[in-house]
Amino acid sequence: MAVSLWQRLAARASVPVFVASGKDEPDEIQDMLWQTGRIKLVFTPRHASLLVVTGQIPVEQSQSLAIIHDQLPHPRATLWCGGQPCFEFIAAKRAPSPQTLVASAEDLPQRIKETQKQLLSGKRQSEPDLNPDRPPAPWQGKGDHGQGGEGMMGGKPYGRPMAMMEADLRDGLMLDALEFSVGPFYHGLPAGLMASVSLQGDVILKWQVESPPFPTALPSVFVRALHQDTPLADLEIWRVRVHLQRLARMMALDGLDCAAVRTLRLAGPLPCITQAGLGALQKQVGSLEKHLRKRGFFALGAGIGELDAQQANLMGGYVGRACGMQEDARSTSKPYQALGFTVSCQDKGDVQSRRLQLFAEVHQAIALAAKAGREEVMLTHEEIETPVGRLTKRQAPKDHSEMLQSLLPGMEWREALMTLASLPVAGATREGGWQ
């Protein structure tokens, strides 16, 4: 087929990419693609022409991946980066092939652009569906009108049943509850979290976790500090980085794309920052915070997703401190005390105070890093305060997705997602730490 004018033009446009994040893969790749020119991360597979799978997708979720894959419009292709392809893809003879596997994250942007060119010029065939082309919910065609049931609500019109009534949490009206499952590749949820949700209007009635989010790999400095002397400055710089990345994700959820990318820009090159760089960083973070404060980024979260003392206690880390708990493993450690560390807290425990707390901790960590860097403070401690909670030799920060089941019902969808983004729901693993 001759390449049309459209396709030639299209080859020069930014490549829309949908990223499905798997296990053992920090969101680093996604963050990197965010900042890359000529690549556009999109929120739904419908807008994408490439599916990029980062990390390993567990067997339980390969079916979900296949669903997502089939939802991409033609022409489409899949790239795998940092993990083995799922069975579905191997069975369909779609992988592994050198065409689809990307060895290192650095190559990824280039490979994405090449693949898109090949797709548009017809050198590469668009991938056919993985799932069979038959109705996902077959339709028998029985009953009065062929819907397979009786009455107004009976049967399965067009193969799917209709939503059924349930009493509402807020005003008790008996209206239909929409039941469906979201995730594990829903953009607003942590990677791997899959939940079956029941909504009435846009208020959540039930939130049942089907599979917990993939544990995030802790930066290896934190693990190292358990056993051997580690520069304290490194710990704090990594804390800044992880916090900034989390904040960037919240900004993206609020539609603040520009600010999110700017935040990621700040976070990206942090591991090799210099003393002079820290001073500049402090200023940049300050101006970013001021920019966001003026535009209502913090005020937006007021009164949303308030945790009670017990929940905050369970989560620990910055979530606890945002709730007013003076708990921080750093306060019991001598080197930190020597640096004049005091625990900073917020008082309310809603999304607003968590956002403020994250920024406060970023500022604090930069100051600590600068001071510790000058004095070359080293640290080993059996309890390390990581950006997502407390780490000891025996215990890594735990998964808290179970808590969502009691926390989210009664919340409006947007509020629920804002709350989710502000909590470190995923547990952490010590293995596979990345540097």
Partner: protein, 113 residues
């Protein structure tokens, strides 16, 4: 002529877009493609349902309010000519309306039910 333009412009615009979409789309969607997106999850029912509209009291209030608003347009046209009388009348009218709004606000109508 004004009226003709008024009718023809939206008509032609709509036809233009319909034709454009018709010519450009390639839309044979297979079953797995047609499945609505929910992040890789499954859907247990149709989306169409008795949807709980969370702002229903607000919608009802609006109807009453909007009814009154239609009186305001003709009023605006004669306002300057009629002078202070018009100001007084509309002042009264708006006060009555504002009372309704204040009451509704106190009853918490402008929140998600």
């Amino acid at each position: 002529m004004d009226l003709a333009n008024l009718l023809l412009i939206p008509l032609i615009a709509a036809v233009l877009i319909l034709a454009l979409e018709k010519c450009l789309r390639r839309n044979h969607s297979s079953y797995p493609q047609a499945r609505p997106y929910s992040g890789g999850g499954d859907l247990s029912s149709h989306a169409w349902c008795r949807f709980h509209v969370r702002y229903y009291p607000m919608a009802l209030l609006l109807i009453a309010f909007e009814m009154e608003m239609m009186f305001m347009y003709p009023w605006a046209v004669v306002y300057v000519a009629e002078g202070i009388k018009a100001l007084m009348e509309m002042g009264m009218f708006l006060t009555i309306l504002a009372l309704g709004i204040v009451y509704a606000w106190r009853e918490g109508v402008f929140r998600w039910q």
